[in-house]
């Protein structure tokens, strides 16, 4: 086995190479543009080559056996007390496939960015951040330790924060970055808690460690049998906590709010991070920790944790698809579409289809990156316009973009047979249909499928068909403001991605489920007959009908009416209340503003007031106690004195006036009184003695 794996000694290089590039870029000046490009692309290419080699190695090692190849390299990070804290790297089919996908798409997006960002003053910094992101994402994939995964997870979040807020002069971008970081951190707290809980229960954070790892039989058995609060199995409780992290990162309801706002970042960033790779990290986490999620599953019972995953996924899939219907920002539509598709992946995981989820993840990465880059190309061509109501007819101006965008759209919508999206969605629906716990997620997913086809067609119609509307709206100098096709450095990556979005479908059809067996073990055989088994065929027909219905309905609604900024959306004309609610994103943000955020600020002010008034006041009260006492005695004196006057004793008043003349203000005079008093006192005592 070892000779197969010579390459695994270089596993650590995959994340480290881009990290070095990031480090070198971050200390070099902003003017070294060429060097930035060379370093970033070089690192990406190197990582891609390494990842491909690793992938091939795994395929060869797998060799059609039932066994899943898994190679872990563990090392000690540091020791505390008698305990060594160990981290590790892992190579298995799951992350081998992901590595290739991430490095490949990352490479294409870097190439695209060279064109897209060419005029940005902070060009170098952009590529430094992009490299940092790649490094963190790849580290996340190769880690064999929950802790290392968490570390990379947070670094991915950091890179995302930096890139969303890349145009920091825009307050909206800075706010979006902050929102993304905070929202995902809420989920990460759950992740963190789950991690230390697992550590407490099992004493290790390694996934695989020759039988002693977290995801191996001994530990899982202990976790599944132990129970905690509310009778939950330990494995369920910890899995749900980990899932919180996944929900934050993968934009699952109710932590999805940051993802649409994250579109404030440059478009390549949206494509790479917020569509293709980073948001998939949550799905990857669940897939990686799947044995933990499924630990309580018996032969005919469904694991509690997975039920939660399924429901969250199904709800998100439909919920986000609904909102996407009523958005007008080209990137926001895609963002909600991403949230919805991530929901599909969660459904797949929840119903037990790790391979299906990962396949959908990879396929989605291709076509969503394609769509985003296409959108970037559109925005670039339309002079930074993002409102689809101000576009239209672009297929005449940007043919290459249109063609590739259409492929991406069809893949996403699930057009039959030739697109990867069709097959991946098909597999998910198939699995959901057979889920024993409840049929409802299946129906929710079907509704999501319909809506996906609907909103994507709506977007296509708005953007590429009809007439170019910015002309009529704005100015006469039409020829200058004409949209233009993007340069080849941007269209070539689009073409490559489009090819990927189509071809990828070949490896996961029911006829030849190679990918499935690659991930889960076993050999794939080519059997066209499997396409025509009753269940498969029926479901295929059903989804084709749904997609056709979605496309048809959208075409019927949008293609035949006039669109534009001035006019109301055709759907709004029909259902104004519903449309407005959807356009306002079902008021989730408003709800959070009114509850969570307001509560936080109130609590902050309360704590501040507690400090300023209660505690500080207490201190002041204690320290000023004597002052208070003296004040009190002064008040008593004064009142007594006043009352003396009030009785109206004239004699007293005059004598008082006389006495007050003794108050010369000269201390020496007072001392003289004291001296005289002393003499009198002694004389008085002597007199008493005598008497």
């Amino acid at each position: 086995m070892a000779d197969h794996f010579w390459i695994s000694h270089f596993l650590w290089l995959v994340p480290v190479v881009p990290l070095l590039a990031a480090g070198m870029l971050s200390v070099s000046g902003n003017s070294r543009r060429n060097r930035a490009v060379i370093l970033t692309l070089g690192a990406q290419i190197l990582s891609f080559i390494l990842a491909s080699l690793l992938f091939i190695t795994v395929i060869r090692a797998q060799g059609g056996t039932e066994e899943v190849v898994r190679l872990a390299v563990n090392f000690t990070w540091f020791e505390f007390g008698d305990t060594a804290l160990r981290l590790g790297l892992l190579l298995d089919p799951l992350n081998a496939a992901m590595l290739v996908m991430v490095t490949f798409i990352g490479l294409l997006i870097c190439i695209f960015s060279v064109g897209y960002m060419s005029r940005d003053p902070n060009f170098t910094r952009f590529f430094a951040f992009l490299s940092l992101f790649s490094a963190a994402m790849l580290g996340l994939l190769v880690s064999n330790s929950l802790l290392l995964l968490f570390i990379c997870w947070e670094l991915v979040g950091l890179a995302s924060y930096l890139l969303i807020g890349f145009w920091y002069q825009k307050p909206s971008a800075a706010a979006a970055a902050q929102k993304a970081f905070i929202t995902t951190r809420i989920g990460d707290l759950g992740f963190f808690l789950g991690m230390i809980w697992l550590y407490r229960e099992t004493g290790t954070l390694l996934f695989y460690d020759g039988g002693a790892g977290l995801l191996e039989q001994a530990a899982l058995h202990g976790l599944a049998t132990g129970t905690t609060i509310g009778g939950l199995a330990l494995s369920t409780a910890t899995a749900l906590l980990l899932f919180c992290g996944a929900m934050g990162k993968s934009g699952q309801f109710p932590l999805h709010v940051w993802l649409p706002d994250a579109m404030e970042g440059p478009t390549p960033v949206s494509a790479l991070i917020h569509a293709a790779t980073m948001v998939a990290a949550g799905v990857f986490l669940v897939a990686r920790a799947f044995p933990l999620f499924a630990a309580t599953a018996g032969p005919d019972t469904v694991a509690t944790a997975l039920i939660a995953v399924t429901w969250v996924g199904a709800f998100t899939a439909l919920f986000a698809a609904c909102i996407a219907v009523a958005q007008t920002d080209i990137k926001r539509i895609l963002a909600y579409s991403t949230v919805s598709q991530l929901g599909f992946m969660m459904i797949a995981l929840g119903v037990g289809g790790v391979a299906a989820a990962i396949f959908h993840l990879i396929a989605h990465a291709f076509f969503k990156a394609l769509l985003f880059l296409g959108a970037g190309s559109v925005i670039h061509g339309c002079h930074d316009e993002q409102d689809i109501r101000k576009m239209g007819g672009l297929r005449r101006f940007m043919p290459a973009t249109f063609a590739t965008y259409a492929i991406g759209m069809m893949a996403l919508a699930g057009f039959p047979f030739f697109f990867s999206g069709f097959w991946s969605k098909e597999e998910i629906l198939h699995l959901a249909q057979g889920w024993p716990a409840s049929p409802i997620p299946f129906y929710l997913a079907l509704a999501g499928t319909f809506l996906t086809a609907f909103y994507m067609t709506r977007q296509m119609v708005y953007v590429f068909f009809g007439n170019y509307r910015a002309d009529q709206a704005s100015s006469e100098k039409a020829s200058e403001s004409r949209p233009h096709e993007s340069p080849p450095i941007m269209t070539v990556p689009l073409t490559v991605l489009a090819a990927g979005a189509v071809l990828l479908g070949l490896v996961a059809t029911p006829a030849w489920p190679w990918f499935h067996h690659f991930i889960e073990g076993g050999a794939a055989t080519l059997e066209f007959g499997k396409l025509f088994t009753a269940g498969t065929l029926g479901l295929m027909l059903l989804s084709i009908v749904l997609v056709a219905a979605g496309v048809g309905a959208a075409w019927f609604l949008y293609a035949r009416t006039s669109l534009g900024t001035a006019e109301r959306d055709p759907l709004e004309r029909k259902r104004p209340g519903l449309y407005r609610a959807l356009a306002q994103r079902l008021y989730v943000d408003e709800f959070y503003d009114a509850t969570v955020i307001r509560f936080h600020h109130a609590a902050g002010r309360a704590a501040d007031a507690l400090d300023r008034f209660v505690w500080h006041g207490l201190v002041m009260a204690v320290s000023g106690f004597s002052v208070l006492l003296s004040r009190a005695s002064q008040a008593v004196d004064r009142r007594f004195f006043n009352r003396g006057f009030d009785t109206g004793c004239e004699t007293l008043r005059t004598s008082g006036g006389r006495v007050s003349r003794w108050h010369t203000g000269n201390i020496q005079t007072y001392l003289a009184y004291i001296g005289a008093g002393l003499v009198l006192l002694i004389v008085f005592f002597a007199w008493i003695q005598q008497a």
Binding site: S660, H663, T664, G665, N666, I667, Q668, G675
Partner: protein, 103 residues
């Protein structure tokens, strides 16, 4: 034969001299000098009573004077600082010039 009263009378004389200075002199520094004399007389009393007291081994008077000297040092430091402050404020050390306590 020296007896206790010898010392007490010296002490009383010192005290009265200091007191007279405090009462009659117009310069704050002189007042402070008077106060120092009065303090010394008190210390002398302590030592004298201890020496002629019933239990000289108890060292009470000596200890008291030690602390008293420490306190006096502190008092002198603060008092002199005050004088400097007063001088800076009123540009004078004459008590006539700053009778703010005038009723």
């Amino acid at each position: 034969m020296l007896t206790l009263e010898f010392f007490l009378i010296i002490s009383a004389a010192l005290f009265s001299l200091g007191f007279a200075a405090v009462l009659t002199r117009r310069n704050v520094i002189m007042i402070l000098i008077g106060i120092e004399l009065m303090l010394s007389s008190a210390n002398l009393n302590f030592i004298a009573f201890w020496r002629f007291g019933p239990d000289p081994d108890a060292l009470t008077g000596v200890l008291f004077v030690l602390f008293s000297i420490a306190v006096a040092a502190a008092e002198a430091a603060v008092g002199l600082a005050l004088i400097i402050l007063i001088y800076r404020h009123f540009k004078s050390t004459n008590t006539f010039n700053f009778s703010l306590l005038n009723g």
